[in-house]
């Protein structure tokens, strides 16, 4: 059936800069903020914006993401018409078919899916940003201005502008120039990688782009510049509020820490814009007689008997008596045993830090310092030491240093 707006969520990236955290799952399925996975933010934004048809484009390690999305029920996306659809690359007649070659190619390969719903507008989203945004408001601007493409932009500082794709706009916020990571930025409006296209326009540009053998089939590199060059009307939509890219270990850690100040970053408690998640069935968390918790998030199924400060605990985490967790992120099922010390670290799902082991340390001046990461399912043995910025993918034996 025809839909006015369909959202396409690009979730196929490996997220290689998250290293050990994405060795088993696609980046959008990485746990975030105590109860969520990264993809919950754009998905919940869709639902809260009234978009009920979402295509999720996957190709890298999709199994966990697929089972997480399921029929879309936690997001109220289990619809009889529309809902959430997982869109992997597929084979065609005559041995045709390829992996998604780029962001634009991923949408190109799913022209058939979009044609099923014959939308007026398509919203293109990515699965690696944490933010709340009313896409309906952006679509309204797109309609009102009669644009072919509307790009969501964020005001950044001029120093930061050198790291982003920068939109140069006129007095009406019409984009006349796009510069990727300019050395001398002319504006401070950074693209957030969120686009609204008039589908009939985009459809033609995707077909033309596919025919160009020199194209890298990417929105930022090809489609946007081509549309600008052709003189299409392209508008900037100014977004205000919290927005964070969580594509690196540091930014993922940072953004999790931001959730500890919900009143100043993203208010997850705001009932008017809930972020939905598929939540496992767990009883409330329990604090023991010697528990000491401060400035932290704690989730269902946790058992805290030790000290937890400035940290984010996902569900079913155990912090034993005498254990000390500082400025860390403990993903679902992580265990920190008695006397262990975890600081400035990300301990992934079901990893175990045995008693009196040490993982990470407080920042010092050394250039090697960074967040320590223990990958999912890994055991850090008794009295073992994991250095700051280490990336642990395999078990560390007791007493060893890694």
């Amino acid at each position: 059936m025809k839909k006015e707006v369909v959202a396409m969520l690009l979730a196929g990236g490996q997220g290689s800069r998250l290293y050990a955290l994405t060795s088993h799952v696609a980046k959008p399925a990485v746990p975030f903020g105590g109860k969520y996975r990264i993809i919950d933010f754009p998905l919940s934004n869709c639902v809260n914006s009234g978009i009920d048809t979402v295509g999720v484009l996957t190709q890298y390690r999709p199994l966990e993401l697929n089972s997480y999305l399921g029929n879309g029920q936690p997001w109220d996306l289990d619809r009889s018409d529309g809902g959430v659809h997982i869109l992997p690359p597929y084979m065609r007649e005559g041995d045709q078919g390829t992996w998604y070659k780029g962001t634009a190619n991923a949408i190109y390969q799913n022209i058939g899916f979009l044609d099923l719903y014959d939308p007026e507008y398509v919203v293109i989203l990515s699965g690696d940003h944490i933010y709340k945004m009313d896409y309906a408001d952006m679509v309204d601007l797109h309609k009102k201005t009669g644009a072919a493409c509307t790009i969501s932009v964020l005001e950044v500082t001029m120093e930061e502008a050198t790291r982003f794709g920068i939109m140069n706009v006129d007095a009406e916020d019409r984009i006349f120039e796009f510069e990727e990571k300019p050395k001398h930025p002319k504006s401070n409006l950074a693209s957030m990688g969120i686009y609204v296209f008039t589908w009939s326009k985009l459809r033609q540009y995707l077909i033309d782009d596919e025919a160009d053998p020199n194209s890298s089939n990417d929105f930022g590199k090809n489609i946007i510049p081509n549309m600008l060059a052709a003189g299409e009307k392209m508008m900037a939509y100014r977004f205000q509020g919290y927005w964070k890219d969580v594509g690196t270990i540091n930014s993922l850690w940072d953004a999790n820490m931001d959730m500890l100040a919900p009143r100043s970053s993203i208010d997850l408690y705001d009932p008017s814009w809930p972020i939905y998640a598929r939540t496992p069935i767990k009883p409330p968390h329990v604090t023991g007689p010697d528990a000491k918790i401060s400035h932290s998030l704690v989730t269902g199924g946790c058992q805290v008997d030790g000290t937890v400060e400035n940290s984010v605990l996902f569900h079913s985490v155990t912090v034993e008596q005498g254990a000390d967790v500082q400025y860390s992120i403990l993903m679902p099922g992580a265990v920190v045993k008695a006397g262990a010390k975890v600081s400035y670290a990300i301990v992934a799902e079901n990893a175990v830090v045995e008693s009196e082991a040490v993982v990470g340390s407080a920042p010092d001046d050394s250039p090697e310092w960074g967040i320590a990461v223990v990958a999912s399912g890994v055991t850090v043995g008794e009295k073992a030491v994991v250095s700051p910025s280490a990336m642990i993918r395999e078990d560390v034996k007791g007493g060893e240093r890694a």
Binding site: G34, T279, I281, P283, P284, H285, A291, S294, L297
Partner: protein, 371 residues
């Protein structure tokens, strides 16, 4: 997989629970931080593979409807079967207020019972906190050749005048059933959970409707103990009943015992409940949380000790909550102090108020009250 149909009685509104059940029936009483009492038996049914459940309600069931919704949180939102809420439809003695007994309740939904597609039925009250292996009860029922299997507990905790007890002979058959006696003696306490064939249930419902018999225990079981083979299933785990405010408080505090939690929240048979999409609980820089059970979505900047906090509770700076049960949305403002208090949904305790009950007489505050 089995051939069981689940029935839950959800019309009891216990006067002794005072403030806590005034706006609702006991099945929708909040318990254990994130649950309603009905979650326990309903999850037990679902965990045993039961796909069709009828919930018999009578009055004040709005909060129950709101909680159960389509049944999707229990995977009971189905094309065939699934969850059915059964309000009174047509029964002989209309206008009596509450059903006079569970046989009258069953007669009131006789049309529904006829269409049950399973050969066996389990029926229970929806207001018992228990993690029961219903599949094991069913297996024993089939293996023993009993006409009716009744689930019993060796650990007595109900008040005798509201409870039922069975005596069992050497060959494991129930020889006597006493209903609401003055004292319990050393008999087994019945949890009033029964398994029987659909056919037997239908026969009994028809007989009772024709003879104006309302009570299953008094009207059916007691007179027929010799002709019906009634066998007990002994549930060794925890079972919590809620017959007074004091009971409610004690059962809540039971949850601070790790062994009881391990039994009641057995991960192999999880207790499901309505998903509210709460974020994690936030603890502020100078907060204290000791020996407590805290649900998601709370915002704690004060002190919490020996307490049960439901979803979305706020404890402001300098506030102190000890030995208390705070239901969903309770706000304890700065400097307030609570001990032995049960605060129902959306209660607000203003700054610097001091409220104190006693372990034997906890102070219950009605839904929505501002203190």
């Amino acid at each position: 997989m089995n051939d069981l149909h689940g029935i839950l009685f959800a019309y009891r509104s216990d006067a002794n629970l005072g403030e806590l059940t005034r706006p609702r029936n006991t099945c929708s009483l909040a318990f254990g931080g994130r649950y309603r009492l009905i979650d326990f038996m309903l999850s037990n049914y679902v965990n045993a593979g039961i796909t069709d459940v009828g919930v018999i309600v009578h009055e004040s069931y709005q909060s129950l409807l709101d909680h159960l919704g389509s049944g999707k949180d229990w995977d009971l939102s189905r094309k065939h079967g699934g969850l059915r809420i059964l309000p009174p439809f047509s029964y002989a003695e209309q206008g009596h207020g509450e059903y006079r007994g569970n046989m009258e309740a069953l007669a009131g939904v006789a049309g529904y019972l006829k269409n049950i597609r399973q050969d066996y039925v389990i029926m229970a009250w929806g207001d018992v906190a228990v993690n029961l292996d219903v599949e094991a009860v069913y297996d024993q029922h089939i293996a023993s050749g009993a006409d009716i299997t009744v689930v019993c507990t060796p650990t007595l905790n109900g008040a005798p005048r509201f409870s039922e007890y069975v005596e069992v002979s050497a060959d494991g058959r129930v020889t006597d059933l006493s209903v609401h006696p003055t004292s319990a003696g050393k008999a087994l306490e019945s949890l009033e959970i029964y398994v029987m064939s659909k056919q037997l249930l239908m026969d009994m419902v028809e007989y009772c409707a024709a003879h104006d018999v309302h009570s299953f225990s008094r009207g059916v079981l007691q007179p027929r103990l010799k002709s019906l083979k009634l066998m007990p299933y002994i549930h060794q785990g925890y079972a919590g009943r809620f017959q007074s405010v004091g009971d409610y408080f004690q059962r809540s505090m039971d949850l601070l015992d790790p062994a009881i939690r391990a039994d009641l929240f057995n991960p192999a048979r999880p207790i499901r409940t309505k998903d509210m999409s709460n974020p994690s609980t936030y603890y502020g820089p100078n907060s204290v949380s000791k020996c407590s059970l805290v649900a998601d979505g709370c915002y704690i900047e004060g002190e919490v000790e020996n307490s049960i906090l439901s979803r979305g509770v706020i404890v402001e700076k300098g506030a102190k909550v000890v030995n208390s049960v705070l239901m969903q949305g309770t706000v304890v403002k700065a400097g307030a102090s609570l001990a032995y208090v049960i605060a129902d949904k959306n209660v607000t305790i203003n700054a610097d108020r001091m409220l104190m009950g006693h372990s034997t007489y906890p102070l219950a505050i009605a839904k929505g009250t501002v203190v």
